[in-house]
Symmetry: C2
Amino acid sequence: MYIINIKDCEEKAVKSERTLNTTLRWLLSSEHGVPNFEMRCFDIKKEGRTRYGSHPHEHEVLVLEGKGVLNINGEKKKIKPYDAIYIAPDEYHQFINEGEDTLRIICLIPKGKEDHHK
Amino acid sequence: MYIINIKDCEEKAVKSERTLNTTLRWLLSSEHGVPNFEMRCFDIKKEGRTRYGSHPHEHEVLVLEGKGVLNINGEKKKIKPYDAIYIAPDEYHQFINEGEDTLRIICLIPKGKEDHHK
C-alpha cells in the first residue's frame, strides 16, 4: 500500500511546447510499483491549457475543481467538477481553463506511456 | 469520447455480503469502450463499510469527500479528501466511513476484474 495526498506530491511545471500555466503531479506511478496504470493530477491554472494533440493510448479523466473546456477532435465541450471523461486512443484533445480558479483534473494512462513527462 | 457526471450515472447498491450502506457507479467501463482499466465511484454512506478481503488485482483510489479509515492488512489508516491510494494485488483492504457524511471515493481496476458487481 502506498498513500499520498495531492498537496504533498511534488508539483512540476509541464514543459511541453504549447502547454501553458499547467503543472503535473505523479500521484501513483511505476515508481510506487503500480502494475498497469498511472494516476496523475494536472492543475491547469488561470489562462492555462494543455497542448492540442493525440497519441495511441487512452486517457481516463475526472474533473475535480474549476471550469473549462475540452477541445475534442476540434469540438469544444464544457466540463465541470465530477465529470468523468474517456478519451479514446488517437483522439485529439486539449483541456482549456476558462475560469478564474485552477482547473484541476486527475488523468490516468496505461503505465509507461508518458514517461517523457517525468 | 464519452463523458458523464457522477450525479448522472446510475447508482446501485453493492450487494456483496459484509458490505454495508455502500453504492457503486460505473463511470468509465468496458460498456464505454475503455481498453485497459475501469473507473468507478463508491459512496460509503454513514455507518457504511466495504467488505474486508483481497483479490489478485490492484486498486487505485482517490478519496473525494468525507472521512474514514482504510483497514489495510489489519492496520487502520485514516484517510481524507485528495488522498491517492495504491492497494497492491492480494493486499487485504476495507474502507470504513467514520464520519457523519458520505465517504466518496473513486476506485480504478484493470478492465473486467469486477464484472460480478455490474
